[in-house]
């Protein structure tokens, strides 16, 4: 088959460049929007996704990981005795004031466990030994705190809730959804710092099941024994923490609108250039019909041109999107482009371009082959 579609498309190079740039622009925009959204949401559940637990027990109606409420820490005993539970521990998550050398007070979010290593948490230790946390008034601080609060080093002291604590380690990627840096300290130390109200109380219980144990059954049994708490599987709790931010802040809607806008820009540019191209090739399409071609033959030409524009534009749009990943990271923003996202955007781009091509279909259907005899 002679590829009239491709040859016509490449014959007018300038128009092809414009079409492809339009698609590429839309593709980059969509990747950046969804990628940033994904990056933000990743932060919303990053701790849940990395802590090596199967089940999370929260106080009743806790909306997400950062907004924890208190309940008695003795509940952990009841969880430990549930069949299938290999281990269970209390976890405190709480915001704390940290005093900076210049006297200013800032917030960090503290995660406190009795034994961090057991939960493979934190997941990205840069300096220090987690087991040392148990030995006294020490804490680990995420590297992102340097950007927020100025440089710090292991061995320095900081006042956290008016107690002097020594920084004995650093981590990477441990930020809350609101990009507050996360610190890690011993469970009892955290209780002491937080004061009287926190004596004998925790914010979460995390549980690891024995290999092969039935998650649903264990969850149901824990819920039965702790009727005043909420019990989630890790996946459920992660989803809940993410969707809280999507629903409560409107960032989901914001992203949706930008993606819609990006898609619209792409469709309009492609539709516009394909339509102009169709108008300019009307005589050729008349000839195709005169020599016996059908509307479908011409639709195929337009569809092929749309798909070529989509594929080339997609490839060209993906490059700047990937190039932006390290640049955004420098600015503290996470741009997450997964293979699934790439596939979805690819399919969306092709669909968008085909939709744009269909704008010209009606024009094609009205082309009268008799025009080939007119001057």
């Amino acid at each position: 088959m002679v590829d009239l579609a491709r040859k016509n498309l490449l014959h007018d190079k300038l128009r092809f460049v414009i079409t492809v740039s339009g698609v590429a622009f839309a593709v980059t925009l969509i990747f950046v929007q969804i990628g940033l959204f994904g990056g933000l949401l990743d932060n919303a559940s990053v701790t849940i996704d990395h802590l090596d637990a199967d089940i999370w027990v929260t106080s009743s109606k806790t909306p997400n990981i950062d907004f924890a409420h208190l309940f008695p820490e003795t509940s952990v005993q009841r969880v430990r005795s549930v069949p299938g539970v290999a281990r269970a521990d209390n976890l405190i998550v709480s915001f704390m004031f940290i005093s900076l050398p210049n006297g200013a007070r800032e917030n960090i979010e503290v995660y406190a466990l009795e034994d961090f290593s057991r939960w493979h948490f934190p997941w990205n230790v840069v300096q220090g030994n987690l087991d040392d946390l148990r030995r006294g008034r020490y804490f680990f601080l995420d590297e992102s705190a340097a950007r927020r609060f100025g440089p710090f080093a292991v061995g320095e002291y900081r006042e956290v809730l008016d107690y002097r604590l020594k920084i004995i380690g650093t981590t990477r990627e441990a930020l809350s959804f609101t990009t507050t840096p996360i610190g890690f300290m011993d469970y009892r130390i955290a209780q002491t710092l937080l004061g009287r109200e926190w004596v004998g109380r925790t914010t979460y219980i995390v549980a690891k099941l024995a290999p092969g144990a039935d998650v649903a059954a264990a969850k149901a049994e824990i819920q039965r024994r702790l009727p005043h708490n909420d019990v989630y599987t890790t996946a459920e709790w992660s989803r809940q923490s993410r969707s809280y931010w999507v629903e409560s802040t409107g960032i989901g809607f914001n992203m949706f609108m930008t993606v819609l806008l990006g898609g619209l820009v792409g469709i309009v540019i492609v539709a516009q250039t394909l339509y102009t191209s169709t108008m300019e090739h009307i005589k050729e399409f008349g000839t195709v019909k005169a020599i016996g071609g059908s509307n479908a033959d011409i639709y195929k030409i337009l569809a092929e041109q749309a798909v070529i524009s989509a594929v080339v534009g997609y490839a060209l749009g993906l490059i700047p999107a990937f190039a932006l990943v390290p640049a955004m990271a420098k600015g503290g923003l996470k741009l997450v482009i997964t293979p699934e996202l790439m596939l979805v955007v690819f399919v969306g781009t092709v669909a968008m371009c085909l939709l744009a091509a269909m704008v010209s279909f009606r024009k094609v259907a009205t082309i009268d082959p008799a025009l080939v005899f007119r001057g």
Partner: protein, 221 residues
Amino acid sequence: MLLEATDIHKTFQEGRETVHVLNGVTLSLARGEIVSLEGPSGSGKTTLLSIIGCILTPTSGRVVIEQHGVNAQHQGELARVRRQYIGFVFQQFNLFPALTALENIEYALNIKGVKGVAAQREAERVLVAVGLAERLHFLPRDLSGGQKQRVAVARALAGNSPLILADEPTANLDSVTGGQVLEMFRALAKQENRGLLIVTHDPKVRAVADRVLKIEDGRLI
């Protein structure tokens, strides 16, 4: 008989007025025969050619091509008849600017259902026949007017369509070139036993025609 058109009438609606363009034209054409159709501007030549070529539907009358009555009411059927029986040559050549000479013909063959190597061979054959063996891979913009019309003639001849219809094929060519194209056209039509109807103002066409028809006010005279 290759073509029989009987009592063809065609009217156009121009606002409130009905314009009678063809008023009962009857003509026939045999294989291997070359007929020239002459007439003043506006006499209905192109309209008649379009009806015979199954591009326009007559208001009344009957077109029979190779014993098949053409059901002119159905667009798909008309397109099928065009693919199977008819080759066109236009005044403006109507080549695809983005395709080489060879691809122009291959593409037309593709539309007619001839694909792949078969289409390529046939395209080469007709281009060699019209004397363009050295220009197979030239784009139309790199060909002279006469060469373009040769490509168009080759395209009409490709794929064995028995009926070739040409509308003013020499109007955009100088006299000498036009004469050469007509000579070649005649030779090939005879050699391959095609029926050829040429609509024209050009007196040179008479020289190559077996028969000359004249039309005036939508009637043959």
